[in-house]
């Protein structure tokens, strides 16, 4: 028989305001096994915890019930208290009489009655609690960062600087991501390449960092501290270790008409290419879809001009197996397709472009060498119209756009408008907006400067239609503040397209069993208190894969994710969660129901010899749970038809005892 102590918390007036805590303590003192029952203002305070410890000693308690807030808040606190008092931490039960009682009731008698029932259930459960001891598992001291944009680079650098090994897997031929494509960065207008490329070089030269470029993660197994990852290295048909990046092959390649993805298709590149001058690694890559040699065996020019002998037309995709202790997702974002927004005539006119295309157009290394030229005919434009929120904040049109705010567009549009007016004061610039959102250090000042100093015409309202006609873009829009319809003849229209997570994110989330929201952004473990951790242990989030972010925010989050990884890798062993499933082999019939519902792949089967009552030996297939992989979700215990599967700490008889206590 357990000796149980009950501790009822007031939580100031949070609980005591709607629950008669003294009545609860009194009522629970009559429950079987309860030898001590009391109430206190703040049970989580040092004084409250000391009281629990003293009571354990004084009354020889074997179990503790704390009636307080949600176990998500303070279960860990009270488990530590129990440990300090010499009890097994799993002999503590929390009755949630705050979130599930006092906060949802207004009436004191009803609240009190419910609190007593919840307390009784917890007492009934403690009677059946057994001490549990967590297992230990070792930690592989190497981290994997998936994605080599600014988020991945910063995370990798911070982890590497702390002395741990880290690998970056990047699916493109070079790291750098979206930031490498940008021109200037707000709000200080320093050039993106000037601040990014030194970091790219740092990460490439760091002794603790390996970069797998042109590679993808193809399989992830294992669990926190012990991930087994398969990386697929796409054949680039160039030996990375031999290529010097001289570019002779790029110059000689006769197939020069491949749309250049780095410039968003606004110019062409050869079939063998180096994405941009500062690419890391600076190694050529052959695009097999366009290479004549690979397609029909005719050409071979690049191999002939390569003095390093780096070209290898026979190269195959390669798979690399590696172990990691932690995984950081930094898969980034893309602008959404403009196909469903053809009221802006993006598919009809070359002069309607997205903001990312505009970045390339104003970039000195871009297709026009930084000159603002109209894409259709190379003429100097005189009127530019920027349209914000194209596909963002689309509450009425969720089928075509996104309901969320893409967050970065207000600032980059202000930047674009300002840069155009600065370089070309003769150009008229209009910006159509729903709201201008510029909360960030020095952000609003930046936007005000665009309006007040640079004379950008900001118009509250939206563009309804763009009609390309005889070389002019006829823009029809509404000016909401003046209640007027506007007709503007523009030379170029720039669309601030909403951003969405990269398409690789969803299959990756499935591989990692990491959760996502309806927009395919990775979900954080807690939106405020654990913003860089995924709910899946050992998986961390960096950058725009978790939500739209600008560069300053991305870099902060990247550092935060790195610090969480460093904290994990600094441990030699990880304490597991003892509240995991276990199978009663005598009852298990090997039906696979549990393995089919297990989201973590923690259940396997083995053939085991059983001695039967008639003294024969039978071979039976039974379920086996890997406690290091099991997360204790309990799906298997519900699915098991024979009742063989049970969850430590939440055993079927414990749950039923609680239900009985509630229904009594």
């Amino acid at each position: 028989m357990q000796r149980i102590g009950v501790f009822v918390c007031w939580c100031g007036s949070n609980i005591a305001g709607t629950v008669d805590v003294k009545a609860v303590a009194e009522a629970l003192s009559h429950e079987p096994g309860v030898v001590f029952s009391t109430d206190y203002q703040y049970m989580c305070s040092q004084a409250g915890q000391d009281m629990i410890k003293a009571s354990v000693a004084e009354h020889h308690l074997t179990g503790i019930v704390v009636c307080s807030c949600s176990p998500r808040m303070h279960e860990a606190t009270f488990r530590k208290t129990a440990t300090a008092a010499g009890l097994n931490p799993y002999m503590v039960e929390i009755a949630n009489i705050r979130e599930q009682c006092s906060w949802v009731h207004k009436d004191m008698p009803i609240g009190t009655e419910k609190a007593i029932i919840l307390g009784k259930a917890a007492v009934a459960k403690v009677h059946l609690n057994a001490p549990l001891t967590p297992g230990e598992s070792p930690v592989t001291k190497r981290a994997l960062v998936i994605g080599g944009g600014i988020a991945g680079i910063q995370t990798a650098l911070d982890i590497a600087d702390a002395g741990f090994k880290v690998d970056i897997v990047e699916k493109k031929p070079t790291i750098g991501g979206k930031m490498a494509q940008l021109d200037k960065t707000f709000p200080t207008l320093d050039c993106a390449a000037c601040i990014l490329t030194p970091k790219m070089v740092d990460v490439a030269q760091h002794e603790n960092v390996r970069i797998f470029s042109y590679s993808e993660v193809s399989e992830v197994k294992g669990f926190v501290g012990n991930f087994d990852v398969t990386i697929k290295k796409h054949a680039r048909f160039v030996k990375e270790d031999l290529c010097t990046g001289c570019g002779a092959c790029v110059d000689k390649c006769p197939m020069k008409k491949v749309p250049n993805e780095f410039n968003l298709g606004m110019d062409n590149r050869p079939a063998i290419y180096i994405p941009f001058a500062q690419a890391v690694p600076k190694v050529a890559t052959i695009d097999p879809a366009h290479c004549n040699m690979l397609k029909n065996g005719k050409c071979g020019l690049c191999a002939r001009v390569c003095t390093a002998g780096a070209i290898d037309y026979t190269q195959q995709d390669e798979y690399v197996q590696e172990k990691y202790g932690a995984i950081v997702v930094a898969t980034g974002f893309n602008p959404i397709s403009m196909d469903k927004f053809d009221e802006f005539a993006y598919n009809q006119s070359k002069d309607v472009i997205t903001s990312l295309e505009f970045e390339r157009l104003t970039n000195a290394a871009g297709p026009t060498a930084g000159k603002l030229l109209r894409p259709s005919d190379g003429a100097h434009p005189h009127t530019l119209v920027f349209v914000q929120c194209v596909g963002s904040r689309c509450t009425a049109c969720a089928e075509k756009g996104k309901e969320y705010c893409s967050k970065i567009c207000c600032m980059y549009t202000a930047k674009h408008a300002m840069l155009v007016r600065d370089k070309y004061p003769d150009v008229d610039v209009y910006v159509f907006y729903i709201d201008v959102r510029t909360p960030g250090k020095n952000f609003d000042e930046f936007y005000r400067r665009a309006v007040e100093e640079y004379g950008v015409k900001y118009i509250k309202g939206t563009v309804g239609k763009v009609v390309p006609e005889n070389g002019v873009l006829k823009v029809q829009a509404s000016d909401l503040l003046n209640n007027k319809q506007l007709h503007i003849d523009a030379d170029m229209v720039v669309l601030a397209a909403a951003i969405e997570p990269d398409r690789s994110a969803r299959p990756l989330a499935t591989m990692l069993t990491a959760s996502m929201d309806t927009n395919d952004f990775f979900t954080e473990a807690h939106p405020k208190l654990r913003p860089v951790e995924s709910p899946t242990a050992g998986v961390f989030l960096s950058g725009a894969c978790q939500g739209p972010k600008d560069i300053p925010e991305t870099v902060s989050q990247a550092g935060a994710a790195a610090s969480k990884v460093i904290g994990l890798l600094a441990k030699d062993k990880l304490m597991g969660n003892p509240c995991v499933a276990s199978s009663n082999e005598a009852m298990c019939n090997g039906c696979s129901s549990c393995a089919n519902v297990c989201p973590y792949g923690a259940i396997t089967y083995e053939d085991k010899e059983f001695r039967m009552p008639d003294r024969t030996v039978a071979l039976r297939r039974v379920a086996k749970v890997n406690p290091a992989v099991c997360q204790g979700c309990g799906c298997c215990t519900v699915a098991c038809p024979s009742g063989a599967m049970d969850l430590n700490g939440f055993k079927n008889d414990q749950i039923l005892a609680e239900v009985d206590a509630i229904c009594k």
Binding site: D339, K340, F341, D342, E343, A345, N347, Q348, E399, K400, K465, V466, V467, P468, E469, N470
Partner: protein
């Protein structure tokens, strides 16, 4: 195959061509159009009066008839199509509306069981553009054709579920199947002025002119439409650019175009 075919009032009066060519083309494609007996006006321009039940009743009777016949209901006029599809959608999704309507209808209640197709959907999804291409005897080679959708045919997109209202291809793909070259122009899904032609002819004129000008600027020889009102408005403003129903073009390509009987 057989389908229920609802021509609607305008196709019996002002837009006989639209109807006649639709019937001949269907015959050539092996589709039998069964016209229900004693049909009434779809409710026409009352489409925007959402709270009005009485004007929706004739559409619901039509839909009920189609559901009972277990055949899809096909309409060809943009406005009829819009009214009938919106009404069917409301019967499926708006329980209070369906309840009020059903109280007028007597014993067996209707909850949107019928399938409604625009004639273009029939061509694309049931007959198939591939099959049409095979039956073309008179390919319209070299013709540059502007497909004019107007505002009503595809909108609201979530109810019509026919094509992307801002970037459609259903008529362009048909034009390609018939051997001609579609002309994409921005104003293809802008309003022609519609009923404003009664109240403010100048405004309707402005809207129609913008459509025609934009089609011409993109090199069109011909505009096709599915809507009698669009054709009426555009015709008034067009001097040299012919505006015809898409069914006429279809009939021509299928070799069944002859002067319609009056």
């Amino acid at each position: 195959m057989n389908v229920r075919y609802f021509p609607g009032c305008t196709l019996k009066t002002k837009a006989k061509d639209l109807d006649a060519y639709a019937r001949r083309s269907a015959e050539a494609l092996g589709v039998t159009l069964d016209e229900p007996k004693d049909w009434q006006c779809c409710g026409g321009m009352f489409t925007s009066a959402n709270d009005e039940v009485a004007t929706k009743l004739s559409s619901v009777r039509l839909l009920k008839d189609a559901a009972a016949s277990e055949q899809p209901l096909v309409t060809v006029c943009s406005a009829c199509h819009n009214v009938v599809k919106q009404t069917n959608h409301a019967m499926q999704t708006d329980a209070a509306f369906a309840d009020r309507v059903n109280r007028y209808l007597g014993d067996d209640a209707y909850h949107g069981e019928a399938t409604v197709y625009h004639y273009l959907e029939l061509l694309r999804d049931v007959v198939g553009y591939g099959a049409i291409k095979e039956k073309v005897v008179n390919p319209l080679k070299g013709k540059k054709i502007a497909c004019y959708y107007g505002c009503l045919l595809l909108r609201p997109g979530s109810v019509m579920r026919m094509d992307d209202p801002e970037n459609p291809s259903i008529m362009e793909d048909l034009v390609r199947a018939l051997g001609a070259e579609p002309v994409i122009f921005a104003n293809r899904n802008e309003c022609c002025g519609g009923y404003m032609t009664m109240e403010s002819p100048a405004l309707a004129q402005k809207k129609s002119e913008a459509v025609i000008r934009n089609a011409k600027a993109n090199g069109a020889d011909l505009i096709i439409t599915a809507c009698p009102l669009c054709r009426y408005n555009l015709n008034k403003q067009s001097d040299d650019l012919p505006i015809v129903y898409f069914t006429e073009l279809l009939a021509e390509a299928l070799g069944v175009k002859e002067e319609p009987h009056e």
